[in-house]
């Protein structure tokens, strides 16, 4: 079955980013497909590559990057939510005249249409959030 996942909460805020990750891992292990993971609202903070959590703690953003690499996942960050929170890729940094970008490997910035498409193309859309 094809799943879409929406994450509305940042890492270490409460538990939604972790729940979504565990759910995604279990879905893939059970032979399901993940059409897209859409990071919305504070969920965009999962996509920064500049997070440096303590060594004995999980690195939520890195876990997503690794899972995406392993399973060729489409990790999409909402552009409007990202701009408000200072999350930029190379193109956006250039376009906004900023001196750096901070998006992690495996994530891409795009619009809400990607969430709508995930809702249409997936058999189930599961929302995790605050």
């Amino acid at each position: 079955m094809k799943f879409g996942i929406q994450i509305n909460e940042g890492p270490y805020q409460h538990q939604a980013a972790d729940s979504a990750y565990q759910f995604a891992k279990a879905a893939l292990a059970n032979g399901h497909e993940i059409f897209r993971v859409f990071f919305y609202h504070d969920g965009v903070n999962n996509a920064t590559r500049l997070a440096v959590p303590p060594q004995d703690d999980r690195n939520v953003g890195q876990l997503w990057s690794d899972l995406a690499k392993e399973h060729n996942l489409d990790l999409v960050v909402c552009i409007a939510a990202a701009q408000r929170r200072g999350l930029l890729d190379e193109d956006e940094a250039k376009r906004q005249g900023k001196d750096a970008n901070n998006i992690a490997e495996g994530f891409r910035i795009s619009g809400l249409g990607q969430l709508i498409e995930a809702g249409i193309e997936s058999d189930r859309l599961v929302v995790f959030g605050a």
């Binding site: 079955m1 799943f3 509305n8 409460h14 538990q15 939604a16 729940s19 565990q22 759910f23 891992k25 279990a26 879905a27 292990a29 059970n30 399901h32 058999d123 189930r124 859309l125 599961v126 929302v127 995790f128 959030g129 605050a130």
Partner: protein, 100 residues
């Protein structure tokens, strides 16, 4: 058409579980996870609401129960599932309603 309702808030924090139960149709399932698992413990008002909810099945996410050390206080009639079970519940219902 069957619906899976997911509740991730403690019943001591919000009343979404009670609203969810009042609106859920017969044949639907409610999954308690994250702080929502506190509703699955015996002796609470939420446990009474769950007991009185006819035609609705209740599941609770085991790892979140264990993380809070309350797996021994589970009320009757609530099925414990792991993340594989969570995935099966999503696949086994037509729609998912997250009560955030």
């Amino acid at each position: 058409m069957s619906t899976l309702h997911t509740v991730n808030k403690s019943p001591f924090e919000t009343n979404v579980l009670e609203i969810c139960i009042s609106l859920a149709k017969s044949g639907s399932t409610v999954l308690l996870y994250e702080d929502g698992v506190y509703a699955a413990t015996e002796g609470t008002r939420a446990a009474v609401a769950i007991k009185n909810a006819n035609g609705i099945s209740f599941c609770v996410l085991g790892p979140d129960l264990q993380a809070r050390g309350i797996e021994g206080k589970l009320a009757n009639d609530i099925k414990v599932v792991d993340y594989d079970g969570f995935v099966d519940l999503v696949a086994g219902h037509d729609t998912i309603q997250a009560w955030l």
